[in-house]
């Protein structure tokens, strides 16, 4: 029984979730707290991966980070390996798929914090940064953690973007969802079933936990 693809998936999803956490919470904060021109446009661009076909997203990524693109070229010059059709590409694919979930839910969680509490922190001498870190972020933490768990689940299951950007290279970019497809094609039903059950179990467990986190049962509220 080859559990390699499953392990690879978990590994890629973990890194992708961390990336999405940093970028996503940053963007969510920007969208929730700062009024700037083009804010709605940023919101749309960040949310687009939810509604765009994975192939379209994959196409954009190939164009922007492919070996002949500026970013792809620079990356290869620095790190000695291209982004596309490597693990890096798989992480990038998973991150792009997960990012909208972090930004959307993260923004909602941050905006859900009573603005008067933030104003109170400011009158108590806290600069904008301290008020954010000590009041807004901790009070939004539950929502953000829930968003990150969804992001992890989403990264774990990505198929289309990964296939476009990272290919289906066994041992390198063949994640569990890609391996399931291959196994079915090759009539290795048993191998497919193991991964199907594993992915399903993880997804259900995550959703269950997220639902437990979501309601406003927080002590002190």
């Amino acid at each position: 029984m080859d559990l390699g693809p499953l392990a690879l998936s978990l590994q890629i999803a973990t890194v992708a979730t961390l990336l999405a956490a940093v970028v996503g919470v940053g963007l969510a904060t920007l969208l929730a707290n700062v009024r700037f021109p083009g804010r709605d446009l940023v919101d749309v661009v960040v949310t687009a991966p939810i509604v765009l076909p994975p192939t379209v997203l994959g196409y954009y990524l190939l164009v922007s980070v492919g070996r002949r693109s500026f970013i792809g070229h620079a990356f290869e010059a620095i790190f000695g390996s291209p982004i596309v059709f490597t693990r890096t590409g798989a992480v990038l694919a998973a991150t792009v798929g997960a990012l909208p979930l972090v930004v959307k839910s993260g923004r909602a969680a941050l905006e859900g914090v009573d603005a008067t509490l933030i104003r109170a922190a400011r009158t108590l001498g806290a600069g904008a940064g301290r008020a954010f870190l000590t009041v807004q972020l901790p009070l939004a933490a539950r929502g953000i953690v829930a968003a990150l768990m969804l992001a992890f689940a989403r990264s774990l299951g990505d198929f289309g973007i990964t296939l476009m950007v990272a290919g289906d290279i066994p041992g390198e970019t063949q994640t569990a969802s890609l391996a399931i497809y291959d196994a079915i094609q090759e009539h290795r039903d048993q191998a497919a079933l193991v991964m199907v059950v594993a992915l399903t179990t993880i997804a259900v467990a995550i959703l269950y936990t997220v639902n437990k986190l979501a309601p406003e049962g927080r002590d002190g509220r």
Binding site: A120, L124, P138
Partner: protein
């Protein structure tokens, strides 16, 4: 306490707050107020929507006037002509919000230490917080979170939190509005004691005459975004039937003439 005030750049005790601002609001009338608040209590009195809270927000730096000046003593906090706008966290105002806005994820003691001089060490802050909570008779709540407080307890913790900052101006936005009458009388008495010690301008927003009477030396009556009259409580009450202060039928639980 003295150290805090020095950090705030002096001018604490004794300075008079001067407000002369205009502020366009989303809907309804624009705010256009001009008054001064010497050390001690100045009551901002007027019906809901008369601009009392917006005035406080402008003084605190939470709302930006379209034009005008706000000064404390000789220090400008806001001056549209000179392009001065001291950010809210540098103004050293103690602001008690109508909703109190206690931080739900912190204990009472943590709430109270939040705004203290950050150069104080942990123990000093804790000791100072405990002393304040003690004085306001809520010391047993120190390590509990606001969700478990009664209305009166929450008010006292919010008051302690605001006073812990060595403020140069105290802004109270109907802080006792959610309380029943006995509790309110109690708190007003406690507040009066603090105010005497602080020797800074205290703006107290209310639409309760009884509170205005119990606390106010000076009353600024606001209506539709403008100052209608300024005077002592006695003047405004003694004026008789034609005085809007005593006529405004705003006190839901009746008068408490004392």
């Amino acid at each position: 306490m003295g150290a805090d005030r020095a950090r705030n750049g002096g001018g604490g005790g004794g300075a008079t707050l001067n407000v002369d601002v205009r502020l366009a609001r989303g809907e309804g009338f624009a705010l256009d107020v001009r008054f001064e608040a010497p050390p001690g209590v100045t009551v901002l009195f007027g019906p809901s929507g008369s601009g009392k809270s917006t005035t406080l927000a402008a003084i605190a730096g939470l709302a930006r006037p379209s034009s005008g000046r706000i000064t404390l003593g000789d220090q400008p906090w806001f001056d549209s002509a000179a392009r001065v706008d001291v950010p809210v966290h540098r103004r050293a105002v103690a602001y008690v919000f109508q909703s109190l806005a206690l931080f739900p994820h912190m204990t009472a003691a943590q709430n109270v230490t939040y705004g203290m001089n950050r150069e104080l060490d942990r123990e000093a802050k804790r000791a100072k917080a405990m002393a304040l909570l003690e004085r306001l008779r809520v010391a047993p709540l120190a390590d509990r979170r606001p969700a478990t407080f009664s209305g009166g307890e929450a008010q006292r913790v919010a008051l302690a939190r605001a006073l812990a900052t060595a403020p140069r101006v105290v802004l109270l936005d109907e802080p006792f509005s959610a309380l029943d009458r006995e509790l309110r009388v109690d708190l007003v008495a406690d507040l009066r004691e603090f105010v005497r010690e602080l020797d800074v301008p205290v703006l107290f927003v209310t639409h309760h005459r009884q509170e205005a009477r119990a606390l106010g030396h000076r009353v600024v009556v606001l209506d539709r975004g403008r100052v209608q009259r300024v005077g002592s409580v006695e003047e405004l009450v003694a004026g008789g039937r034609d005085m809007s202060f005593d006529e405004t039928p705003l006190d839901p639980d009746g008068m408490m003439r004392r």
